[in-house]
């Protein structure tokens, strides 16, 4: 029993060592990735907003472990002062977030990606930019976009409509963009 106890003490030390190793590896990998995301973000932000500047910052204040540093988003939409994310308008917030998401996607391109109405808060012009940008990305990544916005639909290569002709039961119909004059038409069709 005493030997078992000693074994345990040894295991405890081993574990401590392993944790330190993991931490070090995490820090390196995170910092590398973060720098790249930051670069992408600054570029994509400008493209999406049609100007302005933005960056990501690691906030080391009030943090003991470097692995717990917070991430602050600083954005300056065109024609406005540099400000924190919480002070932006709803549309700007959404677009900034989308820029971050795209930055991440750029760092780690995925085979496919489902976007569920993430551009809902954007106005027509911004949706247009968003959709064009999405189009650029679609060469590396297959996108499945759930949307209400016309520009996004226009940029889609294929469209499917979900309808509820029978109450509580959804059906899928294939839609050709040339058939649709505007969203109202689509809605009529779906109903």
């Amino acid at each position: 029993m005493i030997t078992q106890k000693e074994d345990l003490i040894k295991a405890e030390n081993d574990l401590k060592e392993a944790i330190e190793k993991i931490k070090a590896e995490m820090l390196t990998q995170f910092n590398e990735g973060f720098v790249k995301i930051n670069e992408n973000f600054q570029k994509i932000f400008k493209e999406l907003f049609g100007g302005g500047r933005a960056m990501l910052e690691l906030d080391y204040t009030n943090v003991e472990d470097k692995l717990e540093a917070g991430v602050e988003i600083i954005a300056e939409p065109p024609g406005k002062k540099l400000q924190k994310l919480s002070l932006l308008s709803g549309c700007e917030k959404a677009l900034t977030t989308i820029a971050i998401l795209f930055s991440i996607l750029k760092l780690r391109p995925m085979p496919f990606c489902v976007l569920d109405e993430i551009e809902a808060a954007l106005d027509e012009a911004n949706v247009d930019r968003f959709a064009s940008y999405l189009k650029n990305f679609s060469q590396d990544t297959q996108f499945i976009v759930i949307t209400h916005k016309k520009p996004t639909m226009e940029k889609s290569d294929a469209l499917f409509g979900v309808t509820m002709q029978e109450k509580g039961v959804s059906k899928i119909v294939s839609v050709k963009l040339s058939d649709i004059e505007d969203i109202d038409d689509l809605k009529k069709k779906a109903l």
């Binding site: 995170f30 189009k135 996108f143």
Partner: protein, 967 residues
């Protein structure tokens, strides 16, 4: 194409199997709100291994199964499959297509499949992870993800980036390791606890063992004693049982004897009982016979009494009938007389009646002829009167009609005038409205044009504002870049200054000495400076001078050799290191040699080193000493030529830093990170400052430009506002004008309608007037004809009236006469009727009396016969003496049997008592026997109980226990 399609069955609102094929690029999914679009993304997320029902917008995982609607049943399971094209082998499997399927049953059982082969969730997750797909990552970005990133605290937001950089799985590993660490620590503590606990428990266990042993011994002894008691009891049982059996035998014997006695008594009893029954039967028969005889006797005497009464009654009847016959004979005689008298009266009355009827007939004929004449006259008079009245009525009607028609006519004429006036008025109004409309149309077309122009202007202005905005943002961008540049330059400035301040770049002893001198006035006083810091020069000579001076650049200049001595001592005392000092007073000034002066005219020669540098003349000796014999040349080739020509008479350096020494050696080549910082600190500070100021000026200029552009843009913006206001204003007046137009148009159409109505009305009035005129003429003719008719009718009526009055008088007289005769006839007829009735009544009475007499005589005959018969019957019924004697003998027999029965009854009672006694004795004996049997059973049950308890306590039977017997 990687992701080919998704197949969904029974997932959430997808009750039927649906299939969505994905193309390369973007596939859009659209539809109205609430139709289940997001369920598509939920389905994909679910297959990727989502375990949280909340993330799928349900309260439990089973909620994802289609739960039925009013028209559809719910399903028992749901299934979603993702089809991937694996021809590029993005997945590490050998198939060209990979199908990942998840299936969930209502029982909560969940199954996963890869290419239809059952698999574990872990397999799927790791398969997907290889190519960067995962439910936590950025494969599915839902409506909530945007919100999450925005509203998260900076620390939480970090998690998103950790995921993105791929260290999230490290984190789980780290946490797992930490948990393991905690567990290990706990185990160590528990082991220590268990060890100390075991040591504490040893002493109490020993005490318990001793007690257990003692208990075993004592219970062995108890067993021995109890078994012996048991054996003794078993042995005693047999003798006790024998005694009881003897007692039972005695009781049985006595019981048998008593039973025999009882049987005997019973037979005797039965015999006596039979005899009594026999006697009863006899008695009953005799009594019945006696009763019958007496009933017959009573019946006969009743009949005799009845016959006597009837005879008396019939004799009374005969007397009455005889008196009645006498009375009837008298009545017949009286009636005959009255009839004869009445018949003569009747003949007289009939003759009178005949004469009266003849005179009535005459009177009636006269009356009829007069009445007919009167009726004719009356008819004529009535017809005339009617004619007169009719004519009068018609005339009145015609007069009234004429009046109404003329009134209507005048009304209509008046109305026609009114209508014509109105028509004129409306026509004028219409003219005016039409003119108004023209003006408004003109206004509207003017406004339309105006608005179009304003719109164009607005567009132009908007473009201008847009352009202004773009320019401002361009300038903004430039300013941002400049600011960055400025900050960088300021930083550099600061750095360079501190570099100089701290004498960075000098060798350690020199640096220390100079730095110490800053705080030590004694040292400071003695140091003039370092050579590098005392000279100023053009930048292009920097490398040449640095190489030429080399180590001498760091030499310290002092005023006197004493100072140098003091400083050397200081270095030594503080163990700082070594330095070279150049006292101004002791270092020799050096003149430029003639050779070097000549060489200045050679191609490539730029100058003598001491002449290209500027310095304080006080240090001339030091500087010339170091540099007067050095020529600076532009290139290596030129330097080589000069060196050869002047045979290395002086030192040559090139601008690239190659050095030709007087000894003939040549130093040069590439240099890594040529460190000449200590030489150029001041110059670099100046350069930096110049650049900084330049940038600042540029920034200022940009700011000015920006302000100008902004004001220009703002001006355009204000103008745009004005134009917009103008547009709105014009638009409003356009709407106003249109409104007016509508009103005027309505008025116009109203007026048109009114005019048409008026015309129609006038036409109808004219028609009505024509009709009235025609009617009036017709009525006039009718009136004249009627007047004449009335005249003739009145004349004929007055002529007929006189004849009519005479006839009426004659008719009244005749009618009076006729009535009188009629009354007489009626009274005669009545008296004749009375007489006839009297005669017939009397004749009927006579007949009745005669019939009565005949009947009564027959009755008397019959009654006499009946009385005779009754007397004969009475004699027949009278009672005989022999029958009385029979009754008496029966009574004697009954008395004998009664006394015999009494003695038998006494015997029976005695026998019954004996029987009862015997029965009691028998039951007493049975009881006694039962007592003994109970005693026997008790002994047996006691024994059995004992046996059982011995078996339970020690598992011994009697046979096995015998070996424990002790005497």
């Amino acid at each position: 194409m990687n992701f080919e399609k998704v197949e969904i069955y029974g997932f959430k609102s997808f009750a039927d199997k649906v299939e969505i094929k994905f193309n390369d690029g973007i596939t859009g999914i659209v539809g109205p709100n609430g139709c289940g679009k997001s369920n598509v993304s939920d389905a994909i997320r679910w297959v990727l291994g989502e375990q949280s029902a909340k993330n799928l917008r349900g309260s439990s995982m089973q909620d994802v199964i289609f739960s039925g609607t009013q028209n559809r049943k719910s399903l028992s399971y749901c299934e979603v499959s993702l089809f991937f094209d694996n021809s590029t082998k993005i997945f590490d499997v050998d198939y060209n297509q990979v199908i990942i399927t998840r299936k969930l049953y209502r029982s909560g059982e969940s199954e996963y499949f890869i290419n239809k082969q059952q698999a574990r969730l872990k397999d799927i997750v790791s398969l997907l992870h290889q190519c960067g797909i995962g439910k936590e990552g950025y494969t599915i970005i839902g409506q909530g993800k945007v919100e999450e990133i925005i509203s998260a605290k900076p620390e939480d937001r970090r998690a998103i980036f950790e995921e993105a950089t791929g260290i999230a799985h490290f984190k789980t590993r780290k946490i797992e390791s930490e948990r393991k660490l905690d567990r290990t620590h706990e185990n160590i503590v528990r082991y220590s606890d268990i060890l100390s606990e075991i040591e504490n428990q040893l002493a109490p266990l020993e005490r318990q063992a001793a007690k257990a042993k003692e208990f075993n011994e004592l219970s062995e002894e108890l067993k021995r004693h109890e078994i012996n008691t048991y054996i003794a009891k078993v042995d005693g049982v047999e003798t006790a049982k024998g005694k009881i059996y003897v007692k039972i035998k005695a009781v049985d014997d006595e019981y048998a004897q008593r039973e025999r006695e009882l049987n005997k008594a019973q037979t005797e009893y039965d015999k006596i009982f039979n005899e009594i029954n026999e006697a009863d039967d006899n008695l009953r028969n005799l009594n019945a016979e006696l009763l019958e005889k007496r009933v017959n006797m009573e019946k006969s005497s009743g009949q005799i009494r009845l016959f006597k009464e009837r005879i008396g009654y019939f004799e009374g009847q005969v007397q009455d009938n005889l008196a009645e016959i006498e009375r009837n004979k008298n009545t017949v005689k009286e009636s005959g007389e009255t009839i004869a008298k009445n018949k003569s009266d009747l003949q007289n009355a009939q003759a009178d009646l005949m004469s009266l009827e003849k005179s009535f007939e005459v009177a009636t004929k006269q009356l009829v002829s007069v009445s007919e004449k009167i009726a004719l006259g009356e008819e004529l008079a009535t017809a005339n009167t009617r004619k007169v009245i009719e004519s009068l009525e018609s005339l009145t009607d015609i007069k009234v009609n004429k009046g109404t028609m003329s009134i209507e006519k005048s009304n209509l004429l008046e109305k026609r005038n009114e209508l014509t006036d109105k028509l004129d008025e409306y026509s004028v109004k219409r003219e005016k409205a039409f003119n108004d409309k023209e003006t408004i149309d003109q206004n509207i077309s003017n406004l339309d044009r105006n608005i179009f122009e304003t719109k164009n202007n607005i567009e132009l202005k908007e473009e201008e504002v847009q352009q202004g905005n773009e320019e401002v943002s361009k300038i903004d961008n430039k300013i941002f870049l400049l600011n960055n540049e400025l900050a960088r330059l300021e930083q550099t400035d600061k750095m360079l200054k501190s570099f100089k301040e701290n004498h960075e770049g000098f060798a350690f002893p020199i640096k220390t000495l100079l730095n110490n001198a800053k705080s030590n006035p004694e040292l400071n006083k003695r140091i003039v400076g370092v050579v590098a810091e005392l000279i100023k020069y053009d930048k292009k000579y920097e490398l040449a001078l640095a190489r030429s001076l080399s180590a001498a650049a760091q030499n310290v200049v002092t005023n006197t050799p004493e100072d140098a001595k003091y400083l050397i001592k200081y270095l030594k005392a503080n163990d700082i290191g070594k330095a070279t000092f150049l006292p101004i007073t002791s270092v020799k000034m050096r003149e430029n040699g003639g050779e070097i002066r000549r060489a200045l005219s050679e191609t490539g020669a730029l100058g003598i080193a001491d002449e290209v540098v500027k310095y304080n003349p006080a240090y001339k000796s030091v500087i010339t000493n170091l540099l007067a014999n050095t020529l600076i040349v532009d290139t290596l080739d030129n330097a080589t030529k000069i060196a050869e020509k002047y045979r290395f008479n002086f030192k040559i350096v090139t601008l690239e830093g190659e050095v030709f020494s007087t000894q003939g050696s040549m130093t040069g080549g590439s240099e890594k990170g040529a460190r000449v910082d200590h030489m150029s600190a001041d110059r670099r500070i100046e350069e930096n400052l110049a650049r900084l100021n330049g940038k600042k000026a540029e920034l200022e200029e940009l700011r000015k430009q920006k302000t100008a552009l902004e004001s220009k843009r703002d001006k355009a913006f204000d103008e745009l506002h004005l134009l917009n206001d103008l547009y709105t204003q014009k638009h409003q007046s356009l709407i106003l004008e249109r409104e007016k137009l509508k009103v005027v148009e309505n008025t116009l159409s109203d007026l048109d309608k009114d005019i048409e109505n008026l015309n129609e009305l006038i036409e109808s009035v004219n028609v009505r007037l024509g009709e009235i005129d025609e009617k009036y003429r017709a009525v006039e003719g009718g009136s004249k004809r009627l007047e004449a008719d009335k005249e003739t009718a009145q004349i004929s009526a007055s002529k007929h009236q006189k004849e009519f009055d005479a006839l009426k008088k004659e008719r009244d007289d005749l009618s009076e006469q006729s009535t009188k005769i009629q009354i007489d006839i009626t009274s005669k007829k009545a008296s004749i009727q009375t007489l006839k009735e009297d005669i017939s009544r009397l004749e009927r009475i006579v007949n009745d009396c005669n019939y009565n007499i005949k009947t009564l005589e027959e009755n008397v005959e019959n009654q006499k016969q009946i009385i005779e018969n009754l007397k004969l019957d009475e004699e027949k019924v009278a009672f005989s003496k022999e029958e009385q004697e029979v009754i008496n003998s029966i009574r004697d027999k009954i008395d004998g049997i009664e006394s015999n029965k009494l003695s038998l009854r006494e015997q029976l009672n005695k026998n019954d008592e004996r029987k009862n006694f015997l029965t009691e004795e028998l039951s007493r004996l049975t009881e006694k026997k039962n007592d003994q049997k109970i005693a026997l059973a008790k002994i047996d049950s006691d024994l059995e109980y004992l046996q059982q308890s011995i078996w339970e306590d020690y598992q011994e039977t009697y046979e096995t226990a015998v070996k424990y017997r002790e005497e």
